[in-house]
């Protein structure tokens, strides 16, 4: 039989993964162009990265067009290894938006830090390629490669401030714990492969269904290690220890990027595994993972919220608050019905804007001789830069879940899902923690509006941060007032039934 390349790869396959190809090519291109740019003109790299995102967006739009044209549930490539389904497309848009905003807030910040290099943007684009693989992969190997591509790029980005001890320490901690968790995750995957003899996550799920419920210790081990690895990545308690240090030490723009894009990618992977492999409609592993998820969700809510109360460093505070937000999303997984999963998607969507907005304000506080990430540094922001202070208040209230701001809708769906599934105690606990979280968000608002500024140096955000604030602010308020379109987007994403025939309810 004559072998031909078309057996393994067709033009259509390449079209499907074109967003990733675009980002990879531009990422490599930035590395080359960077060599030609004089040190003063490094901001052109940011522009190149932005163009990469636009090209990736166009390619993504064309893939999405295939759905509309053919009424498909998913577009497959590479023999089903890559499945561009609505969920993959939803997350890919999310990654592109988060990256675009991160680039906007990075330019001046990295110049101030005197670490403005092309590699920064190249690594960010490569991380997005990894994220897209995590969101679109349907094969253990591809998912793992995507995870590692993202993780390794982010390790470097966290330590990008070479002369800053905190950044170095953060990168080292993140690398060690991240590698450890990747190892655990890989171990779980290897067990899954060993038990079922396939790397296709959908087939794994079906094979697992034949194993009697909860009987095999190997199944337990496989599920627990896989989940533990993923919980590391989303920074759920008790696998969260790396997060506060990494968030505090990383360049602020990268902290924002990690807390939204990297977290969303880990969630994309988590949801994919849960829908294809561990879904209750596919097999009975629910008995294994449900207690674990409930425990982790409660621990995450408690740990994140209580630890955030006493923080005086803004980045650290937001790190703990972002841990707490993961707790809410995990509760959506506990409910595991349509509204719960929709809640996770809506939550990730609104979280992208409000959290990046909050980090954009912290980036604006960075001045020539001031790190600007302590609570004292934001004191009196209202008197220096009223627009930024007002937006920060909007972001914080949205994070706390005060309607009619965007953040409310994520919590709304999750609480509704908990009530629908009869988890009243969990729901009461979750709403109680809103009050706790509000306490530490109010501390920041108090500092901004009710305390005088501690230094006289003006806060003058550059055009990049201004644009980012405008976009995130408009999204936070806009989604809050007119959420219909975004809720529909999440609903469209939801069925996720392509291939796996997982139909919820």
């Amino acid at each position: 039989v004559p072998m031909s390349i078309s057996q393994f790869m067709t033009v259509h396959d390449l079209m499907v993964v074109m967003p990733m190809i675009m980002l990879t090519l531009f990422g490599c291109g930035i590395l080359l162009i960077d060599l030609l740019l004089p040190p003063a003109d490094k901001r052109w790299n940011a522009l190149t990265a932005f163009i990469a995102l636009i090209f990736a967006g166009i390619s993504l739009y064309r893939v999405q067009g295939e759905f509309a044209a053919h009424g498909l549930q998913a577009v497959k490539a590479f023999g089903g290894m890559v499945v561009m389904d609505p969920s993959a497309i939803f997350f890919s848009w999310l990654f592109l938006a988060a990256t675009a905003i991160t680039i906007l807030i990075s330019v001046r910040y990295m110049e101030l830090e005197r670490e403005h290099h092309g590699e920064y943007y190249a690594l960010m684009l490569l991380a997005v390629v990894g994220m897209m693989c995590m969101a679109a992969g349907k094969d253990l190997v591809l998912l793992f490669i995507g995870l590692e591509l993202m993780a390794i790029s982010v390790y470097v980005l966290v330590g990008f401030l070479r002369s800053d001890k905190r950044s170095n320490e953060a990168a080292l901690k993140y690398l060690l714990l991240g590698a450890f968790s990747s190892g655990i995750f890989a171990y779980g995957l290897s067990l899954l492969y060993g038990m079922t003899g396939t790397t296709d996550i959908e087939l794994i799920g079906r094979h697992l269904a034949r194993v009697p419920a909860g009987s095999g210790p190997v199944v337990v081990l496989a599920v627990v290690t896989t989940l533990a690895g993923l919980f590391f990545k989303i920074a759920a308690v008790p696998f969260h220890q790396w997060a506060p240090d990494a968030y505090e030490g990383a360049p602020t723009s990268i902290t924002g990027f990690m807390s939204v894009a990297a977290k969303a990618a880990a969630w994309a992977l988590l949801l994919r595994l849960f829908l294809y492999t561990f879904s209750p409609t596919v097999n009975q592993t629910r008995n294994i993972w449900m207690p674990m998820v409930i425990f982790v969700a409660v621990a995450t809510l408690t740990g994140g919220n209580l630890a955030a109360i006493s923080q005086n460093n803004l980045k650290r505070l937001l790190a703990y608050s972002s841990i707490a937000h993961v707790g809410y999303m995990l509760l959506g997984l506990v409910a595991f019905n349509a509204n719960g999963l929709k809640g996770i998607l809506v939550y990730l969507l609104v979280y992208t804007f409000m959290n990046l907005g909050a980090f954009a304000v912290i980036v604006a506080l960075r001045r020539r001789d001031l790190i600007g990430d302590e609570l004292d540094d934001i004191a009196g922001l209202w008197f220096k830069q009223p627009a930024a202070a007002l937006l920060m208040m909007v972001f914080l209230l949205s994070l706390a879940g005060i309607p009619p701001l965007a953040g409310f809708y994520g919590k709304y769906f999750i609480f509704l899902a908990l009530i629908e599934t009869g988890h009243y105690v969990l729901a009461s606990l979750a709403v109680f923690y809103i009050a706790v979280s509000l306490y530490y968000y109010l501390r920041i608002i108090n500092a901004m509006f009710m305390r005088p500024a501690l230094d006289a140096e003006p806060v003058t955000p550059g055009w990049g941060v201004r644009t980012a604030l405008l976009v995130t602010g408009a999204a936070t308020v806009g989604i809050g007032l007119f959420p219909e379109m975004f809720i529909r987007a999440a609903t469209w994403t939801l069925p996720l039934k392509a291939g796996a025939q997982v139909l919820l309810r």
Partner: protein, 542 residues
């Protein structure tokens, strides 16, 4: 015009806030003028509602309905859906009036960050009005939360020495209540989906142009008991109740109130006491009773509600006697007065309920005025210590007269408004259970004691403190803030019939829902079967 009157009333303050954003912050007087004009406009646009409402006073259900269910966020079933009945009508008029008075009273008191102050205040006004108008749970909840933020900033920025503590305490207390409320709402919403197969947050349904009656989520709420069991009805009732009781505040959820009231700027206290607390009682009347009648008339629930109310009445009054700070004194007296309001509600008869609503209005008028009175003294002397004063009647005679009227109105002297409200409540309580009335009546006695004693210490006798020798009497602007309140106090005290008339239809409907026979009002407050007086203005109607 009539079909959009509620939106106009609702958004006039918001428009004012937006306009203020474009006034430069150095032009303090311009800001004051703009804010006052918009506050006045907010009151004036609500005035046509009076004759229009009067003309439709007997029409059942909600009037002036605007919008429709599910038209805001169709995919979750939230709608921009407004409408009012007699209860919300009175509270809306109180809000627009007190909002204007508070803003007028802030002219001299607020000298720093003037622009922000008025922006937040107008925003607060919109939030409060929305709460009383919403016919959709989602919309209701949005307004309920929206108004927390401006109030928090008003206390936290322009408040007294312990403002940060008070502001955070206020925010967190109310938030804990409102998230429980959210859970309750979500359960109703979910239950409604199970019953009707559709998702909606609307608790009313349109019956004609501008008309609506209870429906939607409310309709399926009746089946909670049979589908889920009585336990769920009680739990839901409690989730709603705690949310509202914190706002009222009922004993033992009242501890945020003295701090918030004392530390808030004068106008903030006026609005806090005058309107914000009423949102709690309004919530109980609008939601707790009609949605969970089985729970409300459950003897044990009723016993506890009434007991907490009576404890509130007596505890509030006793603590008041011990206060050295005038503002704190009035704050605790609010706990006592609101105890009367909740007692009237849980008497579950039409006398108690209409007395309670009227007493809410009275409390807004009297206590609002009392906070203004203290604010005026504070502006002149920067002290609220009772011991600092004495003999003020000699130096500020007009002020002393108005204070006396308001004190008497607050303690329930016949011919003034407080008497009518308290009398109806006590009568309602008496009809329900004589013991309740026995205990509650001590609250009236104590009320007279603490207010008259306060008056004696501050106003009578010689001027003991030399600093008080040359205090100037009320300015015309200050006097203007009191005149409408004094007029209202006398009007309700002497001729309360129109008020009871407005309340009659919604209250009887409510009593029917709760399942007890509507009693006829006593002759003094309501001559039975009186035909509605001809509406004053008919040309404004459709």
């Amino acid at each position: 015009m009539q079909s959009h009157i509620l939106s106009i009333i609702l958004f006039t303050p918001l428009v004012g806030a937006l306009v203020l954003l474009f006034v430069p912050k150095e032009a303090k007087n311009a800001i004051r003028w703009v804010a006052n004009l918009f506050a006045l406009a907010g009151f004036i646009v609500s005035l046509p509602l009076v004759p229009w409402f009067w003309a439709r006073v007997d029409q059942p259900g909600f009037k002036f309905v605007e919008g429709a269910p599910n038209n805001w966020i169709p995919s979750i079933g939230a709608g921009y859906f407004l409408g009012i009945d007699g209860i919300s009508f009175l509270l809306i008029m109180l809000t627009t009036l007190l909002g204007f008075i508070s803003i007028l009273s802030s002219w001299d008191a607020i000298q720093e960050r003037v622009k922000e102050y008025y922006v937040w205040f107008l925003l607060l006004q919109t939030g409060m009005l929305g709460v009383f108008m919403a016919l959709d749970f989602f919309l209701f909840y949005v307004f309920w939360e929206v108004m927390l933020v401006p109030m928090y900033l008003l206390i936290g920025i322009w408040g007294g020495p312990r403002k940060l503590y008070a502001a955070i305490k206020f925010f967190l207390y109310t938030l804990v209540g409102s998230v429980l409320l959210l859970l309750g709402i979500l359960f109703l919403y979910f239950h409604h989906h199970g019953q009707a197969g559709t998702y909606t947050f609307a608790f009313a349904e349109v019956t004609g142009p501008g008309m609506a009656v209870f429906g939607g989520v409310w309709k399926s709420a009746a089946a909670i008991g049979s589908v889920w069991g009585m336990k769920y009805v009680i739990l839901l009732f409690l989730a709603f109740f705690i949310g509202f009781a914190i706002k009222v505040p009922m004993f033992p959820f009242h501890t945020w109130l003295p701090d918030a009231h004392t530390e808030a700027p004068t106008a903030g206290s006026v609005i806090l006491a005058g309107v914000l607390l009423k949102m709690g009682t309004y919530g109980i009347i609008r939601f707790s009773l009609p949605f969970f009648p089985e729970a409300a008339r459950h003897p044990q629930v009723q016993f506890w509600m009434v007991t907490l109310s009576i404890i509130g009445i007596l505890y509030g009054a006793l603590v008041t006697l011990m206060q050295k700070d005038m503002k704190r004194l009035i704050a605790y007296s609010s706990v006592s007065h609101l105890g009367f309001c909740t007692l009237g509600i849980f008497a579950l008869n039409s006398l108690g309920l209409s007395g309670s609503i009227l007493q809410q209005i009275n409390h807004g008028i009297s206590t609002g005025a009392l906070f203004l009175i203290i604010g005026i003294l504070y502006e002149r002397r920067h002290s609220r210590e009772i011991a600092e004063y004495g003999g003020i009647a000699n130096v500020m005679p007009v002020y002393a007269t108005i204070t006396l009227i308001m004190f008497l109105s607050s303690l329930g002297l016949p011919l003034l408004n407080g008497f009518i409200g308290e009398f109806a409540i006590l009568q309602g309580a008496f009809m329900a259970n004589k013991t309740w009335a026995y205990w509650a009546v001590w609250g009236v006695v104590l009320g007279a004691a603490y207010l008259l004693w306060l008056y004696q210490r501050v106003f009578f006798g010689p001027v003991t403190n030399p600093k008080n020798q040359h205090l100037h009497d009320l300015t015309p602007r200050e006097l203007a803030t009191f005149i409408p309140l004094v007029i209202l106090a006398f009007w309700i005290g002497i001729y309360p019939k129109p008020f009871f008339r407005i309340l009659e239809q919604p209250v009887n409907e409510l009593v029917q829902m709760v399942g007890q026979k509507p009693q006829t009002m006593n002759a003094q407050t309501q001559p039975a079967a009186a035909p509605p007086p001809a509406p004053a203005a008919t040309e404004g109607q459709r």
